[in-house]
C-alpha cells in the first residue's frame, strides 16, 4: 500500500477536525474494508485517523427527542455486539438477523456499525485498478455496464454506475426507518433519515452517500415500532454463508387481526443503496396477509426493475424473495 500517516484520537471533535483539515484523510474503524481497499490501491488516503478509541460504542434506549422509546446504537459499536445485544434482539430481531447474515464471525467481530454503512461496493471493476470504473476514477467509464454484471443493480442504476451497496445490516436499517446521526467539524450533530443516507449513482457514482468530508457517524437511531413479532431477513446467495447477497429482503409486518396495518420491505443486492420497496409497502397497507397479496406486492415492486445482461434472474428471484420473506415474517420470523 502507499505510505500514509497514521493518527489516532479519542476525541470526536478532534477526529472530525483532522479529517476536515486534510481532504485526503480517512477514518479507520474496524479496517475490514478500508485496509483491503488500500492494499489493492483503490483507496489512497495519505492519512488514516484511527477512531476506534472514541467512546461511541454504546447501545442504549432513547429517552428523549423524536425517536424516544427507540434504541440508539453507537457508530463505533461492533457488528457482533450490536446483533447480540438484548435490546436489539428483543425489539429489532430483524436487525440481528441481517447483521448475522453478513460476512463471517471474525469480520463481524472487527466491523463497526459506522463502517458497515460506509463500506464500499464489491464491484470487481472497482477493485481492479487497471479497469475502467467511474466510482473509483470518475470519467473512465463503467466496466460493469457491458461487462460481467450478474451481481449488479436492477433498480436505480445509471449508465455511469450499476454497482450495488453490499451491506446486509443497512437493508434492515432501511426497513426500520433508522436515522443516522452525524457530527461535522463544527461540532453540530445532524440527523439523516436512512432513506436519504445512501445515494443512487446518477452522474456522481464516486459518492456512495450524503456524508460530507470530515463528518463522522456518531450513532444510528432506530425508532420504536411494533414489528418485532413479525419480521424476517432473507438472504439469497451463492453459498450458505460468507457470500454477498444475490438478493436479500428485510420484511416486517404490523397486523391488526387479519389486516396489515403497515408492512416494510427493503431489498439488498439490487441497487446502489438499500432499496426500500415503497410500491410493495403501499400496496400491502390495509390488505389481508395472503400469499396472493404478497405476490402482487412483489410483482408491483419488481415491475420497476431494469435488469442488465447477466442479472435478469434477479426479477424472478426478487419477486420470490419478497413473497418468502413476508411469509416468514408472518410466521414469526422463524427460519425453517
Amino acid at each position: 500500500m502507499r505510505p500514509f500517516k497514521y493518527s489516532v484520537t479519542s476525541n470526536v471533535n478532534s477526529a472530525t477536525k483532522m479529517l476536515t483539515a486534510n481532504p485526503n484523510a480517512k477514518f479507520l474503524a474496524g479496517g475490514t474494508n478500508i485496509l483491503d481497499l488500500m492494499k489493492e490501491d483503490v483507496e489512497r488516503p495519505d492519512e488514516l485517523v484511527d477512531i476506534t478509541q472514541l467512546s461511541l460504542t454504546l447501545i442504549k434506549p432513547i429517552t428523549e427527542g423524536m425517536n424516544k422509546g427507540g434504541v440508539s446504537i453507537g457508530g463505533l459499536g461492533k457488528n457482533t455486539g450490536t446483533a447480540n445485544h438484548p435490546l436489539i434482539r428483543q425489539s429489532f430481531p430483524l436487525l440481528t438477523q441481517a447483521i448475522l447474515a453478513g460476512a463471517s464471525a471474525q469480520i463481524r467481530n472487527m466491523a463497526t456499525n459506522g463502517g458497515n454503512l460506509n463500506q464500499r461496493t464489491r464491484c470487481p471493476y472497482f477493485y481492479e485498478v487497471s479497469m475502467p470504473c467511474n466510482k473509483r476514477e470518475p470519467g473512465t467509464g463503467c466496466g460493469a455496464l457491458e461487462g460481467i454484471n450478474r451481481m449488479h443493480a436492477v433498480f436505480g442504476w445509471s449508465e455511469n454506475c450499476v454497482a450495488v451497496h453490499p451491506s446486509d445490516m443497512c437493508v434492515a436499517l432501511a426497513a426500520l426507518d433508522a436515522v443516522v446521526k452525524v457530527q461535522g467539524a463544527n461540532g453540530q450533530i445532524r440527523s439523516v433519515p436512512f432513506a436519504d443516507y445512501h445515494r443512487l449513482p446518477g452522474d456522481t457514482p464516486q459518492k456512495d452517500n450524503n456524508l460530507n468530508q470530515g463528518e463522522l457517524i456518531t450513532s444510528i437511531e432506530i425508532p420504536k415500532n411494533n414489528f418485532a413479532p413479525k419480521s424476517y431477513y432473507l438472504k439469497v446467495r451463492d453459498r450458505a454463508s460468507y457470500a454477498f447477497a444475490l438478493v436479500s429482503v428485510a420484511a416486517a409486518i404490523e397486523m391488526n387481526a387479519n389486516q396489515i396495518i403497515q408492512a416494510r420491505v427493503a431489498m439488498g443486492g439490487v441497487a446502489h443503496k438499500p432499496w426500500r420497496a415503497f410500491e410493495a409497502e403501499k400496496f400491502l397497507a390495509g390488505k389481508e396477509a395472503t400469499e396472493a397479496n404478497f405476490r402482487q406486492a412483489a410483482e408491483i415492486e419488481m415491475k420497476q426493475a431494469k435488469p442488465l445482461e447477466h442479472n435478469k434472474f434477479k426479477i424472478e428471484l426478487g419477486t420470490r424473495a419478497i413473497v418468502l420473506a413476508l411469509t416468514k415474517a408472518m410466521n414469526g420470523g422463524k427460519a425453517s
Binding site: 500500500m1 502507499r2 505510505p3 492494499k39 489493492e40 490501491d41 464489491r122 470487481p124 471493476y125 477493485y127 481492479e128 487497471s130 479497469m131 466496466g143 457491458e146 461487462g147 460481467i148 450478474r150 432473507l234 439469497v236 446467495r237 451463492d238 453459498r239 450458505a240 454463508s241 460468507y242 457470500a243 454477498f244 444475490l246 434472474f313 424472478e316 428471484l317 420470490r320 424473495a321 413473497v323 418468502l324 425453517s336
Partner: protein, 706 residues
Amino acid sequence: MSEPKKAIGQSINRVDGLLKVTGAATYATDYKLKNTAHAIIFKSTIAAGKITGIDTSEAEKAPGVLAVITHKNAPKLNEKGGIRGGAFLQSNIIEFHGQHIGMVVAETFEQARYATRLVKVSYEKAEPKVDFEKHQKEAVLPKNNMDAVRGDVETAFRDAEYKIEAVYETPIEHHHPMETHSTIAFWEGDKVTLYNGSQIVNGAQGAAASTLGIKPENVRIVTPFIGGGFGSKGGQWANLVLAAVAAKAVNRPVKLALTRQQMFNSVGLRQRNHQKMRLAATKDGKLTVLAHETTTHCAINNEFVEPCGDCSKVMYEVPNSLISYKVVPMNIILPTYTRGPGKSTGSFALESAMDELAYQLKMDPIEFRLKNEPAKDPSNGKPWSSRTTVQCLQEGAKAFGWEKRKIEPRQNKQGEYLIGYGVACGTYPARQQNSSAIVKLIRKGTEVKATIELAASDLGTGSNTIIAQTASDALGLPINKITVKIGDSDLPPAAGSVGSVGAASFSNAVNDACIKITDELIAKSGKQFFVRPTAATMMLTEKLTEFETRVDAKAPADAGNYSSHSFNANFAEVWVNSMTGMVKVPRFLAVTGAGKILNPKTARSQIIGGNVWGIGMALTEESVLDPRWGNFVTRSLAEYHVPSNLDIGTIETIFIDEKDTIPNKLGVKGIGEVGIVGVAAAVANAIFNATGKRVRDLPITPDKLL
C-alpha cells in the same frame, strides 16, 4: 506371546500434528534467513500484445527498493526448462492477462508492493482470444492425441431406442491452496537453495536447474511442509526461478510470495470443458454406445488437455465407444493438473449422462450401473487387479438408505424444500512409481531409533505419518522411535505427491528398505533364525551402534499386465429451496475401494476433502473471465466461492476392505484424487431427483434452479 500391534491400518494421529497446530511447522516462507529482501511480481493488464515501454524510474527511487527486474534486464532463462507456463521476463510478448512482466525487490513486502504501483507500462494491444463461447469452434485435435475408438458409435447411436445426447459444461476453476505459491531463494556461490512448496521435489530441482542453466546438484529444494497444492504445486511455476533471479540480483536471500489475487493467473487453472455425451442402451439396460467428446482450451503456445474421457474408458462395458478431444489455444494462462484431473470433470459428464439414461429407462441408477459392470478393463482388455464398484454401490446403498429414493423427481417435499438422492461412481488409476529410500538405525544402550530419508513430499495429506507407520511395522520399532525426513532434494530421489502415487510409492520404498536392512543385519550376524527377528532386535543382540541401507524401489514387474484402479460410489442427499434455488447437502456418503488403507484417519480426511471440493464444484466454484479483456472478475476468495462450513453437512466415509498386491507389495492404491471423482455428478443427480431439473452446466447456483 501375542503379535505386536501393527501400526499400518491404525488411525494414528499425524506425527507432525503438534508442529502444525502450534505453528512450529516450517512452510516455505517460514524460514528466517538473515538479511532477507522481498520480491513482488507485477503483471500485465492486457491479455495479448506487446509491451512497448516500461518505465521503472519512479519505482527504483521508492523507499527501500533494491532492484526492479523486467524483460529488459532479466538474465536469460531457458524457457523450455520445465517451469510450467514458462519462466517469463524473457521478452515483451504478452499472451494472457496477468502475465508476469516484472518484479520489485525491496527491504519489506509493503515497500516492494507499493513500488510495483509506480511502474508505468505501455502496450501495443492485440485482439485477445479469451471468449471460449466464440473460439471453441476453432478447436483442433491436440498434438498429444488421446482419442480412442471402439466399434461403430454412429450407426449404433442412430439405431438405438433409448439414448441421450447432451452437453455438460464445467467452468474454469482454481486450486487455491491455503499457502499461496511462495519461495525463498538464497545463493552460496554457484549453489542456490530454494524453500518452496513442491509436490515433486526432484521435479522442482530439475526444472529450476535447467531453467536457470545450472547443474541439478547446484539446486537444493527444501519443502518439508506444503500448505496444499491440489496439482498446482506438482509442476513448478515461475515464482520458483524468479526468486532465484531476484536473490542473485540483490545478492541477498529473497522471499517471493504471491498474493491471493495473483493466484488467479500465476499457477495454472482447471480449464473450461465442453463435454458432449452420447449414450445409448437396450430396453433392459445394456449400454450400447458411449461417446465422450471434449472441447477445451489451452495456452497460446503450450498445450495441456485434461483427460476428461478417462472414466468413460474404463467404467462400463460397452461395445461402441468414442473418446475424443479438441483444443483451442487461447489468451488464458496454461491450464494444469487439478485434483482428479480429467476424472472429476469427466465423471460429471459421464455420471450425469448415466443418470439421465437410467431415468429414461425408468431404471434405478444403481441397477443400471450394475448391469454394465465390465469383467475386464474395456479400454485395453487387461484383467482388473481388483475392482470394487459393485461393492461400493451395494454397501453404499445399504448404508445410505437408498431404498427410500423414488425414481420420479419431486416426490419428497418438506416445507419449501424439495429433497432428492443422487448417486455417481468414480475411479482413479493406482500406480507405484520409482522411489529410493535410506533407513538408518542407531542404538544407544537398549534403545534403538530409526531415521527414514527420502525426497518425498507431504501436501498436508499425511505422508510423514504413513511413512513412519510403515517403518514402525517393518523394523519392529514403536512409531515414536522413528524420525521421518522428507521434502529435501538432498535426500534419495522419490516420486511426488501427485496422481495418487505418493502413498504407494513412498510406503513401498520404505518397506523395501526396512526389509533390506533386516536381511543385511541377519546376514551380517551369520546366524540362522527359526523366527525372523526384527531389525530392532538385531541391533540389540548384535550390539551394533549404527547401521544403514538404501533401496531403489520399483513397482512389481508384472503390475503393467493388469489394470489397477481405485473405485468409489458417492451418495448425496440434497435439499433444494423451491423458492430461492439455494441448495443444501445435509448428507453425503463416499464408499471407496482403494486397496490397503494405511491410516484410516488421514485417509478419511483426504476423502472428505475431495468430497467438499466436489460439492464446491457442483454448487459454488467458478472463475469468471471478462470476455472483453481476459481478466478474472472473481479476484479473491470473497467471489471465488469454496464451500463454507455451513454448506457442508455430514460426510461419511466407508472403505471397502480390499487386498490387492498386484499394483504394489503393500496393496496401496492411493486416495488423493479419487475422493473428488463422481462427487459433482452425485450432487447434480440428487438435484434432478429433488426438482426434476437437469442442470448440465456447473456450478449449480440458485439462479439456475428458479
